[in-house]
Symmetry: C2
Subunit: 348 residues, 2 copies
Amino acid sequence: MINFIEDPHKRFNPLTGEWVLVSPHRMKRPWQGKVEAPAGPARPAYDPTCYLCPGNKRADGEVNPAYTSCYAFTNDFAALLPDTPEGSYNEADLLVAKSQKGTSRVICFSPRHDLTLPEMEVEEIRSVVTLWIEEFSNLNARKDIRYIQIFENKGEIMGCSNPHPHGQIWALNDLPVEIEKETARQEAYWAKKGRSLLSDYLDLELKEHKRIVCANDHFVALVPFWAVWPYETMVISRRHVRTLLEFNGAEQEALADILKRLTTRYDNLFQTSFPYSAGMHQAPVNDGPHEGWHWHMHFYPPLLRSATVKKFMVGYEMLAGPQRDVTPEWAAERLQALSEVHYKQLTN
Amino acid sequence: MINFIEDPHKRFNPLTGEWVLVSPHRMKRPWQGKVEAPAGPARPAYDPTCYLCPGNKRADGEVNPAYTSCYAFTNDFAALLPDTPEGSYNEADLLVAKSQKGTSRVICFSPRHDLTLPEMEVEEIRSVVTLWIEEFSNLNARKDIRYIQIFENKGEIMGCSNPHPHGQIWALNDLPVEIEKETARQEAYWAKKGRSLLSDYLDLELKEHKRIVCANDHFVALVPFWAVWPYETMVISRRHVRTLLEFNGAEQEALADILKRLTTRYDNLFQTSFPYSAGMHQAPVNDGPHEGWHWHMHFYPPLLRSATVKKFMVGYEMLAGPQRDVTPEWAAERLQALSEVHYKQLTN
Ligand SMILES: O=P(O)(O)O[C@H]1O[C@H](CO)[C@@H](O)[C@H](O)[C@H]1O
Ligand SMILES: O=P(O)(O)O[C@H]1O[C@H](CO)[C@@H](O)[C@H](O)[C@H]1O
């Protein structure tokens, strides 16, 4: 047995096959290091200098339409391009490279420059879900695309280059590293048990009820047993679906609902617009059945102690392996205890 | 073939078996995101409030000796503890944990609060090398230790909690994730070729001479073909040794020399005290011969465009896989072109 509250231990991530070092007692150490700038002043609903606001001009000279809900376009500085020729390079199996092609899309969540997901209405988030499905479906139709990464960087400290509420989609002709890991592990589990790894995991979590943050009829948000970031969470669909194309209407609505509730809890934790990188993991496309794949979403938020002190994944973490200073159970308890009414609405 | 200068491609890291996405054209995108605070004012040679300065009191009440060279002690808030009892936990192979024991040491590089490695004399860095060897040797003597991670977090933006020049050593009874990967790959290579992977790689790099930054008789500093961070480098020993215990006197001196020269180039790049996490990778200890292991050191510096704009490893990187905006060859050229005289000495 392990005393999870006192003893340093490592925990296994069955989705990637990797481990995280948990040092439950480290939270006590004094912090004289970097303190992030507190959030700036409230933003205007429309910013004439923002290249994501409706009607404004973008870097490439194009003008955004006067959109009223959400809006998608191809990134003017895409990391992946549609016409890259096939190519590969190999010198003694030591210098090895392969060309990559694909596209990057930008998804504006709202015409309002001053909102973020938790401050939007559920019906507005529902429109984002619809747009994600539409975009995924379009990309899926391109036979050279094998993986579609939907994600959001929220907040300056997560490298977000514009505070206008938006996310991105990068799609490419290959499986990225993390997707290869999750594919291998989920498919091995499926081959052995005939059930999805995440269905069995979710059953265990619902039984123990120690790491659940919130839930509705179709989704559960929880702090995974193997969480790396202090307040990391996962949203798992109760039904085993491979991609969001399989969500029915009720599930699409429930996804909007759980996103609103989880991100509101996050904002309430430190009474700040809570930064994170979040994204969906789903089955590769145009690449066989991938029966073991179970749709889920990861939230990786960096804050540790307050709105201005984050966890640094540096030295030991980069060179040896991830390390966390509090237990996932401790974090889950804190997230559970929070209200689902946004703090800005309470203080108004 | 691939046009490395124009086309997005991925490159293979033979040490870990993982890939990095290279988007050579992305450097052109405008940056409206986070700008780091410029370096603060010069620090005093002695700071009465610093818990690492000679003669000062630490968090646990102990008083540092009036050390005059370098100095090591056990971290008052260690992530690993020597007396953690053995223990493991397994629920359906989905909730899996194992206790971890070990220790964390802090290594003060100099009594001077205001220095950093590039500003120290080679002979002073030579004393740090000697202390690393001593510490490694002591930890190696504990039969329950299997891996010893020597590293440094330099700079506030790398989570360094005190600017006094120092590094750390975390040692534990297990192989961390990154070490497992590098062990597997290096040993498979050794089994197949009877030579170390890094010896063969180094030969290739010396022949091509496109990514070499600087070198001396015993070490080469280069931007690896598969670099993830914009100005990432590796220091590789020309001789195939497993750990720094095998370095002879000339090699110990040459290590101090290459560290001084590489970190000076780094500081000169943006005329700032260049932040990074750096650390040595070496063979596990008390764990069999590990013949394929070849000592090396990684430098992971976050800066991208200037002293205040860093590369964010967020959204796509966290969820899918690492991505870089410039080619390793481009970065190597810039590092090659720099002086090995520290900019502060030139402007004085
Ligand atoms: O041990 P320190 O310097 O207090 O802390 C720093 O280094 C550690 C090891 O890389 C990290 O876990 C911490 O996040 C970082 O702030
Ligand atoms: O595409 P953006 O928003 O300009 O850039 C941001 O997200 C990308 C994808 O996660 C990262 O590669 C960049 O480092 C980050 O700054």
